[in-house]
């Protein structure tokens, strides 16, 4: 399930959007004990100036994303295009389930939830 209203286009600035993954939807609810699903989220939005500037307050720290946004602002039709809106901070999830031998298994998966997005 994605955030209502997102629709097809990348509305607004680069930020985290809700994406809920439900194990029931893929038919795993019989053997996944917990969780029932999790908020995976995703990144979407514009990475042009000033959104590409890192962090609130203070002078913009020149980095590759800012350079790319400047180049794109100067020559939108030529060059590599704007920087990308991608996950900047991720966190893990754990899944508890029964396996084929009826053992109870706990598995950890790193980098499964988008906590923050950024222009890179």
């Amino acid at each position: 399930h994605t955030e209502p209203g997102v629709g097809g286009g990348p509305g607004g600035t680069c930020r985290t959007r809700r994406l809920h993954v439900s194990f029931r939807e893929v038919g795993w609810h019989r053997w996944v004990i917990a969780p029932r699903g999790f908020l995976a989220n995703f990144c979407q939005g514009a990475c042009t100036l000033p959104e590409a500037l890192p962090g609130p307050g203070g002078p913009p720290a020149l980095n590759h994303a800012v350079l790319r946004a400047l180049m794109h602002a100067a020559a939108p039709t030529a060059g590599a295009g704007p920087p990308c809106c991608v996950p900047a901070r991720l966190s893990p999830i754990s899944v508890l389930f029964f396996d084929n031998s009826d053992n109870v298994v706990l598995r950890h998966y790193e980098d499964m939830v988008v906590d923050e997005c950024g222009c890179r």
């Binding site: 893929v26 038919g27 795993w28 019989r30 053997w31 004990i33 917990a34 999790f38 966190s91 893990p92 999830i93 754990s94 899944v95 508890l96 389930f97 029964f98 396996d99 084929n100 031998s101 009826d102 053992n103 109870v104 298994v105 706990l106 598995r107 950890h108 998966y109 790193e110 980098d111 939830v113 906590d115």
Partner: protein, 211 residues
């Protein structure tokens, strides 16, 4: 499901070859597994104390897969006669480890037994553990642990029955025997399980190199 559909692709990305077939025989989830799951619950992770990736804090070992494996030989265990004189009957327990991948390295293998003794009298008992070789004869004794009164008996098998830096066998069969003890009746083995922690390095993020 057919291998090409998204659910199977997601399953494989999660390191699982196939979804368990049919409905699993639902059994209570052992408290230790609930505790470990809650400890790694993302909400708690956001509570500000960072969880080390690929590490099981509660057990203090590296690992990203924890399995609670019940004894699969429980049906074939002989009923224990009351002790008149001489040793107590021996037990064999078997753990199905076929779900563990060759790339996984065991970092903790803890045998847990629940013994039931008349009037909880397990004073002086010791339990010996040996590998149960195919030739119907137990191998050499690997370790011996005292039987705690009233508590589940726990024995760490890593380095003894389970090699630390090698892939695990498909089935782990153990021969257990009780020694000593002042009680006239043998304790009964009510439940046996193995808590196995493994590390699958393929699922761990590489350590970041400093620029």
């Amino acid at each position: 499901p057919a291998p090409s559909d998204p659910a199977s692709a997601l399953l494989q990305a999660l390191g699982l070859h196939e979804a368990p077939q049919g409905v699993p025989t639902l059994r209570p989830v052992p408290p230790v597994m609930w505790r470990l799951f809650r400890r790694r619950d993302p909400q708690e992770a956001r509570a500000g104390y960072p969880l080390r990736p690929c590490h099981v804090e509660e057990l203090g070992v590296a690992g990203n897969i924890v399995r609670h494996i019940p004894d699969s030989g429980v049906l074939s265990r002989p009923l224990e006669p009351a002790r008149t004189s001489g040793p107590c009957p021996k037990w064999t327990v078997a753990f199905d480890l076929s779900g563990v991948e060759p790339a996984e390295r065991p970092t903790r293998a803890r045998l847990e037994l629940r013994l039931e003794a008349a009037n909880e009298d397990t004073r002086g008992w010791e339990l010996s553990v040996a590998l149960w070789a195919e030739a119907e004869h137990p191998g050499p004794e690997l370790l011996r642990v005292p039987v705690p009164p009233g508590l589940p008996l726990r024995a760490d098998l890593l380095g003894a029955a389970v090699a630390a830096n090698a892939s695990v066998p498909r089935t782990l069969r153990l021969a257990l025997a009780l020694h000593g003890g002042a009680a006239t009746a043998c304790p009964r083995l009510a439940e046996a399980s193995l808590l196995l922690v493994t590390l699958d390095p393929r699922l761990c993020p590489p350590p970041r190199s400093r620029r």
